[in-house]
Symmetry: C2
Subunit: 339 residues, 2 copies
Amino acid sequence: MQALKNRTWILRRRPEGDLRNDDLELVDAPMPTPGEGELLVRNIYLMIAPTNRVWMSDIDQYMAPVGLGEPMRGMTMGVVVESGNPAFRAGDVVEGPMAWQEYSIVRHARRVPLQHGLPLHAYASVLGSSGLTAYFGMTDIARPRAGETVVVSAAAGGVGSIASQIAKLHGCRVVGIAGGERKSRYVLDELRLDACVDYKQGNVLEALRAACPQGIDVDFENVGGEVMDAVLALINVGARLALCGMISTYNATGDWWSPRMFRNVIMKRARIEGFLIADYLPRFDEGVAQLAEWVKAGEIRYEVDIVDGIERAPEGLNRLFAGANVGKQLVRVAPEPSL
Amino acid sequence: MQALKNRTWILRRRPEGDLRNDDLELVDAPMPTPGEGELLVRNIYLMIAPTNRVWMSDIDQYMAPVGLGEPMRGMTMGVVVESGNPAFRAGDVVEGPMAWQEYSIVRHARRVPLQHGLPLHAYASVLGSSGLTAYFGMTDIARPRAGETVVVSAAAGGVGSIASQIAKLHGCRVVGIAGGERKSRYVLDELRLDACVDYKQGNVLEALRAACPQGIDVDFENVGGEVMDAVLALINVGARLALCGMISTYNATGDWWSPRMFRNVIMKRARIEGFLIADYLPRFDEGVAQLAEWVKAGEIRYEVDIVDGIERAPEGLNRLFAGANVGKQLVRVAPEPSL
């Protein structure tokens, strides 16, 4: 197989601000061979997430940044082509921390739990890291109670769309925050949230205040910046803010955003708690089973936003920062196999 | 008794920045008479706390600000002179939300639990709101585990001095932050903490980094500002930040301080949680009993910093903001009775 090429995105330069064309380079890498304990995987989906942008920056974060000259790390899903691990064999569908490339070598892959009988892109979205982030962030960190007001920012996105529906299933009044007419309609008509604040329409604070006449008890935060500042100004006593992401600030140069109205954390005896989905790995089966049940019962809807072709991976990431995607952003590198 | 005068501090103007002389006025108010269910209390101690300054500001907070022209609210301790409540009688020692004045009327007072056999100023400090704030904030919010590194800011103050010793009793490495040579010596020699960072000596971040070679697992935060920014930069995965106060910002005009390195709340999966001692009222007996046991066993030391005379109440408050006090700041309005 050494003659085959393996198109791979290499990080060439640390982006300053928005990702630019020559920060990454698509190269023809040689086809890799798996060593003992490793798998060779043909990638089908790159699961694009805002945190991919963070990995490009040389800052203290939850794992090492991607090194310059290295393949761009990504969570991907694919089919095992060759296995050096007796627990897997060719044809298995796996996901894990691999890279933006056509074929990856991986040591720590997770078998995709196909028994739930849904299309593969469901496992790359609502039953994958995004859905699990929503599930554990909402049920374990935010812990909404029936009748409470829950705000979810980036409510039309891959995580927010699931998190907000989970809060609805808990009997809450759920207010989404999203950008633009199309996403607002999606939030109201498809996700069936109680209200949607379009942050592109002007004063987020006043719009959010109007949408939350009883104040805010829970915030599932994906955005940070002005949006979270508005939330902090409106929280009730005992509020919980599950800090999932701060996409508004990932492209910042220099310091990241600092929250205003931080005093309300004391005044309202609030809890702000950050979390990462990787910490919940031992409980993934529980989360997938619950999400699959909700999806099959029609209680949770999901959307995927697919761009085709490895060459479009950076475009996929930029769609998140431009607010272009509805639902989970995927880059399809190869066709879905028939399951 | 109507002929007697009752010297009372009245809030005349909302302070801008530091408290100024004519923000408050000491007047000769008439002696009040308790109605049904009320007590007339001769105040002995005004328990001075940074939050008193917040009450003077017209901002959304955890209770209504003090109104202009009204007596300055304060937690005080005193002796019942006349009781309109059958559960209390003259001579009882009580504490509660009263005012900076010689005599107060109060409806919701708490009987001071004198059975622990300590001097009255102990009940106004280590066994009062300050000690209980330290106790519940550390054991219930911060929850340190043996071997962890705990940072306590304002470590020589009324709350921090107790909180830091409680963390020592949990088997932690405890690093205090305090201002100046005298307070640093107190923290090391009397409180017996493992290290003390003198924030007046320059670079807090680098000094704190040196004092916390294993990073920071728990922060008991009384100060905010540059001090908490340094803590946020050094926290470990799973850190807990019990947000008790932010004295560095209470005198601010306009916006309060916004924390930098807020991204670490995600990167380190940290929890920042605000709390107020009033929420723990149902558990006060538990806290007082534990603190009294520690004090009597010599495991917790405490200090009170007393200024004498109702006319010096604003000076008492200013001592907190100038960092002049060691231990709990009290204003003594009348002599301690013999118990």
